[in-house]
């Protein structure tokens, strides 16, 4: 069992040649572990989408390597990539990109069929997954009849249907209002934690960073140093993750300012609103 899902090493992407070349991503390294939610933030044009496309084998890097469970996907021939995309990755797009002529159920089932499932099996699987995501009543709707949040949940179901190792989402909340956006992010986090999938989200939306296990800051195609902050669930102080006292509970990692707070936390009951380990980032 590999401990790494995706290993991005010194990856670069240059568009164009010579004078007009644009270095969209410049020697970026990143490892994503199973069950981890990574949020990549950064200003517009910083290379987030380019990086995500390369991670999902949609775009070939001009330098560096990307390994998925030990396979160097950045070196695979074009002919082998569709299968990798189909089975290893689940993509979620900013504007949903559902197939407008197909029903909700068919939108999800078709992806299972592409991976070789029979139509009966694909539909059953899709129906079960959609029901789980709260769309049981919407199976026969056309996408145009759905709200934005529902559409994105269909897209999530579509991304999950083939049990991929990694979910890649580009600005998944950009077309949603903040409440719905938050719901979607929570859903993605739940998926990572309950199903052990890794989730990489690209966004410039500050409001969603608290659902991530790790927040990375991309600027001009490179990660800038960040200090990952967490909130002590007991005293509610902001602490640097790397230096904090940590404790595991119910599969979640919590960070504390001191042993005292940790002991209190492990001994006492958990206040409801601090179920989530809070993270903050600061650019240094």
């Amino acid at each position: 069992m590999s401990t790494l899902t995706l290993d991005v090493r010194e990856v670069s992407k240059r568009f164009g040649d010579g004078e007009t070349a644009v270095k969209a991503v410049d020697s970026v390294s990143l490892a994503v572990e199973p069950g981890e939610v990574v949020l990549i933030m950064g200003p517009s044009g910083s290379g987030k989408t380019t990086l995500l496309s390369m991670m999902g084998a949609l775009l070939r890097p001009t330098g560096g390597t990307i390994h998925l469970d030990g396979t160097e996907i950045s070196a695979l021939t074009e002919g082998r990539l569709p299968d990798i995309r189909l089975r290893q990755f689940g993509f979620i797009f900013q504007d949903f990109n559902l197939l407008s002529a197909l029903s909700v159920l068919e939108n999800v089932a078709i992806v299972a069929e592409l991976a070789g499932a029979g139509s009966r099996v694909a539909r059953d699987k899709a129906a079960a997954l959609l029901t789980e995501l709260g769309l049981g009543e919407r199976l026969d709707f056309l996408p145009e009849k759905l709200s934005g949040g529902e559409k994105q949940r269909v897209a999530i179901a579509r991304a999950l249907i083939n049990d991929p190792a990694l979910i890649l989402a580009d600005e998944p909340t950009a077309n949603l209002d903040s409440k719905i956006g938050h719901e979607i992010m929570r859903l993605l986090r739940g998926i990572a934690k309950e199903r052990g999938r890794s989730v990489v989200i690209v966004s410039h939306d500050q409001r969603i960073r608290d659902i991530a296990d790790r927040v990375l800051w991309l600027e001009d195609g490179a990660f800038r140093d960040v200090v990952t902050m967490a909130t002590d669930p007991v005293c509610e102080m902001a602490v640097e993750r790397e230096r904090a006292v940590r404790a595991e509970r119910d599969g979640e990692t919590y960070f504390f300012c001191s042993r005292g707070c940790r002991d209190e936390f492990l001994g006492g009951t958990l206040p409801d609103d601090s179920r989530h380990p809070r993270s903050e980032i600061a650019v240094r």
């Binding site: 569709p82 995309r85 189909l86 797009f93 504007d95 990109n97 592409l114």
Partner: protein, 365 residues
């Protein structure tokens, strides 16, 4: 695949447009092919119905319709003497101009001996000519010219009376008319003129055997089937190029209509196809979706087109009875194959667009 069907039916107007495009194209092709078959059918109608399986013509004459033939004197007698010959029907054929109610029209006039055969095979009204100034004319032509039994026609330097109307004798460049052989002989001032002999072999003798045995100096002996084929070649020389050209144009128009309709539909959904590609659909699958759309449109269109062709053919023949449109089963098979080819060619137009879609494009706004 489901997606192809859904995509098609989602843009209903567009789908109907492409179906209609194919239907018109296929209908036109079928109609043209039927028109051609009809011409051929008309061209061989006389020989198809006349008795005999061997034709004797003047040396060098190999067809019935295109060339005038003058047999050497005594040919009929020689043919009768040939062993294995059961019956010999002499005919004279000549293109003539009739003048009727002040209007002129060309007729293919066949002179025959009612006692020996070679006359109208479907006498719709009236009777065969009993004397020299009587004539049977094609019923459709008669109707067009307002002729009825008892009417007079000016034929060269004499007047003849219409005594009968024949069916199935509409003709490619005019119509047929029938008179006694002696009428033609005196009209043409050639008392013993005979153009062709239609020879029937006796039972047990084959047409080929009779053809071998008939050696009459100055004549050409041919199987009736070969004469018909030569007549068709004559027609083909006139009609096949323009009809072929029109068929090709109709076909190309069909391909373009379907191709462009599917192309615009594909371009409109390029983001969706791009998303499918990003999700992991291979080009092959997207081609299939696109090609299937073209195929559905083509098949639906050709079914409608066959219906259109039958409708148009019936209408045309009712309106202008001299046109005969014969839609043959083989032509239907041919156009169905053509519609499949149409779909394949039409799908090539959008397939290129699909192939060029970059999967990474979907992440771009």
């Amino acid at each position: 695949m489901l997606l192809a069907r859904r995509n098609l039916f989602r843009d209903r107007t567009r789908f109907l447009l492409s179906v209609l495009g194919v239907a018109v194209s296929i209908g036109l092709i079928l109609l043209l092919a039927g028109y051609r078959s009809g011409i051929y059918r008309q061209a061989s109608a006389y020989l198809d119905h006349a008795q005999g399986s061997v034709v004797v013509a003047e040396r060098g004459v190999r067809d019935f319709l295109g060339t005038s033939s003058v047999l050497p004197a005594g040919s009929e007698g020689a043919a009768r003497q040939t062993p294995g010959v059961a019956q010999v029907t002499p005919v004279v054929s000549q293109f003539v101009i009739f003048e009727m109610h002040g209007r002129k029209d060309g007729f293919f006039l066949v002179g025959y001996d009612p006692a020996k055969g070679g006359g109208p095979w479907d006498l719709a009204e009236g009777r065969e000519p009993a004397v020299d100034d009587e004539i049977v004319v094609d019923r459709t032509a008669a109707r067009q010219h307002g002729l009825a039994i008892g009417d007079q026609i000016r034929l060269l330097d004499r007047d003849v009376t219409v005594v009968g109307l024949s069916g199935g004798t509409t003709f490619w460049a005019g119509s047929m008319a029938f008179a006694r052989i002696s009428t033609l002989q005196s009209l043409l001032r050639a008392p013993d003129l005979e153009s062709f002999l239609l020879v029937s072999p006796a039972g047990g003798t084959s047409a080929a055997a009779i053809a071998d045995r008939l050696s009459i100096p100055g004549t050409e002996v041919l199987l009736k089937g070969d004469v018909i084929a030569n007549d068709r070649k004559l027609m083909a020389r006139v009609y096949d190029a323009p009809i072929g050209l029109m068929v090709a144009i109709a076909f190309v128009v069909g391909v373009l209509v379907v191709g462009l309709v599917i192309y615009t539909a594909t371009i409109e959904r390029r983001r969706e196809y791009g998303a499918l590609k990003a999700i992991g659909a291979r080009n092959r699958i997207l081609y299939r979706v696109v090609a299937l759309q073209a195929l559905i449109a083509a098949v639906a269109g050709s079914v409608l087109g066959v219906g259109l062709a039958y409708g148009a053919a019936t209408g045309l023949m009712a309106w202008r009875p001299q046109f005969q449109v014969e839609i043959e089963p083989v032509a239907i098979v041919f156009v169905l194959a053509a519609s499949l080819l149409m779909a394949v060619l039409a799908a090539l137009i959008p397939a290129r667009a699909v192939a060029r879609l970059e999967p990474a494009e979907v992440f771009r706004g």
